[in-house]
């Protein structure tokens, strides 16, 4: 697939033309003093120099709430497969890695048509990071750059973007851009410089081991005092789950219309830090204590989910949980490093 360059002004015009097309265009925009993904109405609002968004683009592949079925109360149900064609603009590499992991999790074993249809209708234009956020540690997690999952990858090299089209969908979009030039060696070395810088520079919290060591580390850490120490301050609010790009647990509920005859079955984000996440019939809670739930999240990211996706660590170093946690206890790097203080690295 092709690698080319386009000036920032030409790219702005391209985004403008996308906004006028039939697809929904979602991009990163400023929101007060932060950034957020939202529907883009004006190409000038797109901010590819952002540091991090409040919520990850997970909200487009797995919406906070979606309809799975429609039904007659007490009767038959029909599958509801709604998904619009969408262009997602400005996905950072760590968030791209998170989406790649979810693609694997929702398609492996029992194929989830609701997730996969939506995903297949989304075209992703990713971009390398220009500004490091206050809590990013993607360099520690090897997620500061990415080579798969996107349709197009943009790298800001000053007055132009290097545009790498990775799929047929991406190539079609590149053909729509005016003024596209094949990337010169100089452009490619500028791009490499940006990526090399990010590979080490997006590291506000430094993990003291390779991420691939985490499953082994956690094997020996189940009874470590850190769980109780940290969880003592946990409000069980689930903010860490809410902002995490790799959290995909959900709850399923039925909603009945006012006519009491029809309704829909929906799923919505859930969070394993919430008190009743593991409660079963008869009110028995299998993770009643805060430290059990706190540990569960760290194990999900560092051991359980990795075992389902070929060892990939399910923390991508975006740092959102670090910023979102009121009690300042959610930082996975702090927890993993603390465990390492007392556990020999094998």
């Amino acid at each position: 697939m092709s690698v080319s360059t386009v000036t920032k002004e030409q790219f702005r015009q391209f985004v403008s033309s996308l906004i006028g097309s039939a697809q929904t265009v979602v991009g990163v925009q400023a929101k007060h003093d932060k950034f957020a993904f939202g529907e883009l109405k004006n190409a000038d609002d797109l901010r590819l120099d952002y540091d991090v968004t409040i919520l990850s683009p997970r909200k487009y592949v797995l919406p906070p709430k979606e309809t799975l079925l429609s039904f007659k109360v007490g009767g038959d149900s029909q599958s509801v497969q709604e998904s619009e064609k969408m262009i997602l603009l400005g996905v950072h590499p760590y968030d791209m890695v998170a989406i790649n992991q979810m693609d694997e999790l929702f398609s492996q074993g029992e194929y989830d048509t609701h997730y996969m249809n939506r995903r297949n209708n989304i075209t992703i234009i990713a971009c390398d990071v220009v500004t490091a956020s206050e809590n990013v540690f993607a360099s520690s997690m090897n997620t500061a750059t990415v080579d798969t999952g996107f349709d197009i990858l943009l790298t800001d090299i000053g007055d132009a973007y290097v545009v790498e089209a990775a799929t047929d969908k991406g190539e079609v979009l590149v053909k729509m851009m005016t003024g596209v030039k094949s990337a010169a060696d100089g452009d490619l070395s500028k791009r490499k410089a940006v990526q090399d810088k990010n590979k080490t520079g997006l590291n506000k919290h430094v993990l003291q081991c390779k991420p691939s060591y985490l499953p082994t580390l956690l094997e020996k850490a189940y009874d470590h005092p850190v769980w109780e120490e940290k969880a003592r301050l946990c409000y069980s609010c689930g903010s860490c789950n809410q902002v995490c790009p790799t959290c995909y647990c959900f709850d399923v509920q039925d909603e009945v219309d006012w006519n009491l005859e029809t309704g829909r079955r929906t799923r919505a984000w859930d969070g394993c830090l919430l008190e009743n996440f593991a409660t079963v019939a008869g009110n028995h809670n299998f993770r009643k204590h805060r430290e059990d739930r706190f540990r569960h999240r760290m194990y999900r990211k560092g051991k359980y989910v990795p075992s389902k996706i070929g060892g990939q660590i399910a923390c991508v170093g975006c740092g959102r949980c670090v910023s979102a946690c009121t009690s300042h206890i959610a930082n996975p790097v702090d927890v993993y490093n603390r465990i390492m203080e007392q556990t020999e690295i094998g």
Binding site: Q81, L105, T113
Partner: protein
């Protein structure tokens, strides 16, 4: 199935079944016999569960109590929440939505030629009944069959006529106990664990299948350890909140195991070091 899914089925879409028989087994447990409306084959193995739903109320995982050797599907539903309250009002002819079957199975094939010991506490009999009936319908395939039944009180005993018929059979041993003495009860009194020493001779070479309330496992497993039953001969059937049934939603996870996929039936030796399991 719809056009937009590349021919892939919606894994969350239930199919309708009709209630053909219903009766209360005790004050809280409803027995249902169901037939599938489409008439399509429904293949399952003892130990598996289905997701049962009433559209508009919700969905819950329920163990299959029938054996695949019989016609239709049998479930036992305890009245504990909104959904089960509605299910308890169903009459013959009413509809239920069902997805599945899901989850792991009892070791029906690898237990061939071996003795079977079923240890059942309360509604733990419900899923165990699937394998017990299966083994009785394929009697020549299995060695000695022993069933231990423990129930909290006399009034809560399940499948009384059926267990009475089992007791009369010469080709199986059934022992029953209730936790609290009762004037209408002449049998054993005490928790199900107290029966284990009485069948010690049946244990060493047997596949031991355990199902009951969370508290029961701890004591039964201790008693089995004392009787020196190897951990890889013991199978436990665990309950969690299996919301999606297909390994996605995260609710039933015990450490790295998804109960809905890796369970509900686990070989105990695979779980012995999993802290949240028992």
């Amino acid at each position: 199935m719809c056009e937009c899914c590349n021919g892939k089925k919606d894994i969350y879409l239930p199919e309708l079944w009709t209630v053909t028989k219903r009766r209360m087994l005790n004050g809280t447990e409803l027995f249902l016999h169901l037939e599938k409306d489409s008439g399509d084959a429904f293949e399952y193995t003892p130990g598996q569960f289905v997701e049962v739903s009433v559209a508009g109320i919700g969905e819950a995982p329920i163990s299959i109590s029938s054996s695949p050797t019989q016609k239709g599907l049998e479930l036992v539903v305890r009245k504990v929440g909104n959904l089960t309250k509605v299910i308890h009002k169903l009459e013959a002819g009413d509809k239920l939505g069902i997805r599945g079957p899901y989850g792991s199975t009892y070791p029906v094939a690898e237990s061939k030629g071996k003795d079977l010991v079923f240890i059942c506490g309360g509604i733990g009999l419900v899923p165990q009944r699937s394998f017990i009936r299966y083994a009785l319908d394929n009697r020549q395939d299995y060695g000695n069959i022993t069933v231990l039944l423990g129930t909290k009180c006399h009034d809560m005993r399940l499948f009384r006529e059926e267990t009475a018929m089992w007791e009369e059979r010469k080709d199986m041993l059934v022992m029953e106990t209730i936790d609290e003495a009762h004037e209408c009860w002449n049998g054993n009194v005490g928790v199900v664990t107290t029966l284990i020493p009485k069948i010690e001779n049946n244990l060493p070479k047997a596949q031991v299948l355990v199902c009951g309330p969370p508290i029961m496992y701890k004591f039964v497993l201790m008693a089995l350890a004392e009787a020196e039953v190897p951990e890889d001969h013991i199978y436990v059937n665990l309950e969690r909140r299996m919301k999606c049934g297909v390994g996605k939603c995260g609710h039933c996870q015990i450490n790295e195991h998804y109960v809905c996929q890796d369970g509900p039936v686990f070989r105990y030796s695979d779980l012995a070091n999993v802290p949240e399991a028992i």
